[in-house]
């Protein structure tokens, strides 16, 4: 039941509650499907840094890596849509959904794939501007929230829906900024978890602890990329949950459904 007005804190509170309900097994599915994509991105970035100026002469090799990354991207979008559907069903019924969450319509998958590919393209092309990728992150969040309402394949309709919901720019941006900060905190936690694991492992003899100290150290580029990928994967379910909740709340407020629901609850009380 929706009573709290649309605000950043209400969106995050309700999302946290819903994500807890659907965490098993849908958050796990979301994480498992997002893992290959994030780690493929990390491998791609690692090879780029390794090649440096020579990257321009190894286009075929990089294109092969990019191709694998995009294949993993498609799988991750399916997982994301399943999780978004699970969140929506949990919000509507008040309990964890069963196998119904898996029944993502093909129209929804195709439309979301098209929108997210377009946004990914823009995001990568404008990577140097820093602001444009953040904007793309917000629009991608709104796209996953509105994806379920796409009932027929269309090139323009998904963007129209996003524009309609996107009128609450302030809250949508605030949610994105919260997740930017959360990504930094999650990265520190993931690095801390590796450190703690190493510290616990050093108590056991018979293995080269010194070598692992070097691997799990901030001076190791691959470790840093792995930590960033891990942080993004860990945040994914919360991010999807927040935007599905945001879109639902924004849509409900717009149609006056929250008042109707509240009035009906008061009458039946």
């Amino acid at each position: 039941m929706i009573r709290a007005p649309l605000s950043t804190s209400s969106v995050l509170d309700e999302a946290a509650e819903t994500v807890r309900k659907v965490a098993s097994p849908w958050a796990a599915l979301s994480i498992v499907t997002a893992l290959p994509y994030r780690f493929a991105q990390a491998v791609f970035a690692d090879r780029l840094i390794q090649l440096g100026i020579d990257a321009q002469h190894r286009a075929n090799y990089l294109l092969m890596l990019a191709g694998w990354t995009m294949a993993a991207f498609v799988v991750s979008r399916w997982g994301r849509l399943v999780f978004a559907r699970a969140v929506r069903l949990a919000v509507e019924s008040g309990r964890a959904p069963g196998a119904a969450a898996l029944r993502v319509r093909f129209t929804v998958l195709l439309d979301y794939l098209y929108v997210s590919l377009f946004l990914e393209c823009v995001s990568i092309a404008t990577l140097m501007t820093c602001l444009a990728p953040l904007l793309c992150t917000i629009v991608t969040g709104l796209a996953v929230g509105t994806a379920e309402s796409n009932d027929r394949p269309s090139l323009a309709a998904p963007f129209r829906r996003i524009a309609k919901i996107g009128t609450n720019v302030r809250t949508a941006t605030a949610v994105a900024l919260v997740f930017v900060c959360a990504a930094a905190v999650a990265a520190v936690n993931v690095a801390g978890a590796f450190g703690a694991g190493l510290w616990l492992g050093s108590a056991i003899g018979g293995w080269d602890a010194q070598r692992w100290m070097l691997i799990v150290s901030p001076s190791n580029r691959r470790f840093i990329l792995t930590v960033i990928a891990g942080a993004l994967v860990a945040l994914e379910p919360f991010w999807v949950g927040a935007y599905v909740t945001f879109v639902r709340k924004a849509g409900v407020v717009e149609s006056g459904d929250d008042l109707r629901q509240w009035f009906e609850e008061l009458r039946s009380a």
Binding site: Q56, M70, L117, P153, L155
Partner: protein, 91 residues
């Protein structure tokens, strides 16, 4: 003197006619008549209209979205390499 025949509903012969279906011209009682877009229809005609709308082909949309998605998949991989090579050169 002739008496006017009582017009009854095509589905309920006990009930007086209230409206005429604009698709099949059947007489309808208050319960059977449904207004859609300001026009009276009987339930079977309304159901047929609904089915026709739902089975409307979206072939154009399917083809367009599928083609653009496949194209974007390739473009995205290319953009990844171009931007990456550019950034790697700068760093």
């Amino acid at each position: 003197m002739t008496t006017q025949p009582i017009r009854v509903c095509a589905f309920h012969d006990q009930r007086p006619a209230f409206a005429v279906c604009m698709s099949c011209a059947k007489l309808l009682c208050q319960e059977c008549a449904s207004q859609w877009d300001g026009i009276w229809h009987c339930s079977p005609c309304l159901a047929a209209k609904r089915t026709a709308i739902h089975s409307e082909s979206h072939a154009g949309g399917w083809i367009a979205v599928s083609a653009v998605s496949i194209l974007l998949l390739f473009v995205c991989a290319k953009v990844m390499v171009w931007t990456g090579a550019l950034l790697a050169g700068l760093l």
